[in-house]
């Protein structure tokens, strides 16, 4: 039950992108097509889960004073793994995601979960939390990229879905579109939250 709670926490209650609004550089930069969003999300989930597991296992070994540098090295190691893996097996995707794969190392989400959660709890809870946060990041970034691709190119995952006379709103896949889509989505999530909060309050 506790594990399930930890898992769901990252997906909705403390969603890193829509609720905490941290680690959004990559969420804005690479979300020009749905494929990129999923790839970026999965890459981050991998780094987050592996580092959380390792940090949770090492939590009694790492001295408190030098914990942050230790976390950074753990995260950097797994980021290097993803970086080399994508370079070798998905070169075209790696080309598009560019420096944002190595930049996972400074993604606030990863370090924040290591510092505030993984370093304090056991292996099972740390894994559940990391998976939840990672998937929360992935669905959020995929949603943003789907909206941007649909409006900006009229396609979804590369397939044409809009009607014939549709004029693509090119701004959506240019930088301003990222900010505006993100702003509207955060606003919508706020609205849903306020509504559910009000409903539970009146019962």
């Amino acid at each position: 039950m506790q594990l399930f709670k930890d898992f769901i926490n990252g997906i909705w209650n403390e969603n890193p992108i829509f609720k905490m609004v941290i680690g959004i550089c990559s969420a804005l930069a690479v979300t020009t097509a749905a494929n990129n969003g999923i790839a970026m999300g999965l890459a981050l989930t991998f780094v987050l889960t592996c580092s959380s597991i390792l940090i949770s296992l090492l939590r009694n070994v790492i001295p408190a004073k030098v914990r942050i540098p230790c976390y950074i090295i753990v995260v950097a190691t797994f980021t290097t793994v993803v970086d080399l893996f994508m370079k070798a097996y998905f070169p075209s995707l790696y080309e598009v995601l560019g420096i944002f794969i190595p930049l996972i190392v400074v993604n606030c989400t990863v370090l924040a979960r290591a510092e505030s959660f993984a370093s304090k709890v056991g292996l099972a809870r740390a894994t559940a939390d990391a998976l939840g946060m990672g998937l929360g990041f992935t669905w959020a970034i995929t949603l943003i990229s789907m909206i941007r691709e649909l409006l900006g190119a009229g396609t979804l995952f590369g397939y044409r879905v809009m009607w014939d006379g549709f004029t693509p709103w090119v701004s959506a896949i240019l930088p301003p579109g990222a900010f505006i889509v993100m702003g509207i989505l955060v606003g919508l999530i706020n609205m849903i939250n306020r509504k559910t909060a009000k409903d539970t309050h009146s019962h």
Binding site: V21, I22, G23, I24, C25, S26, L28, A29, P69, I72, I73, A76, T77, T79, T80, D83, L84, I99, P102, L103, V105, V106, N107, C108, L111, S171, L174, P175, P176, G177, A178, F179, I180, M182, G183, I184, V186, G187, L188, N190, M191, R194
Partner: protein
Amino acid sequence: MAKELFFIIVGSIFVNNFVLSRFLGQCPFLGVSSKTETAVGMGMATTFVLTMTAVAAYFLQNYILAPFGLEPFLQIVSFILVIASLVQLVEMVILKISPTLYNAFGIFLPLVTTNCIVMGVALLIPMNNYNLIKSIALGLGAGIGFTLALALMSGIREDLEFADVPEALRGPAIVFITAGLLSMIFMGFTGLVPLG
């Protein structure tokens, strides 16, 4: 050469602003942009660290990582460590040399380590094969661009305090939409310098 340097600096301040068009450094852009004073302080601290990082990244890449063939698997780890220790060093030196300067932007320095604009610039240098002078120009340009975006945003946000924003959009949502409009304005600079 001078022309190229000019293109790099103007390019990274206006045409490809690191915050508004390359999406680096979003966390401080949203986090510390509610007051102009703190925004400028943060911008200056970041510019300072960025320029130093550019130099460090250049030497690390060309004199240690590349000659010994360590580049593929040690680049990320060594860059982040160098940035983290550089920030610590800068903080200690400033505290010793000038307490006034430390009061002005010392408190922002620890935050600079996890700012992805610093790591981003460090990674862009080997990617573009920049020489030392070009690296410094890139670091400086990125820093000035970051400061400019932060200062503009904080000016708007100070006025936004008095605006009647729909309740759901208060907080980060309206900041994103404002940033979108700013980014659209910066797109007007496209074509100002030829990008190579």
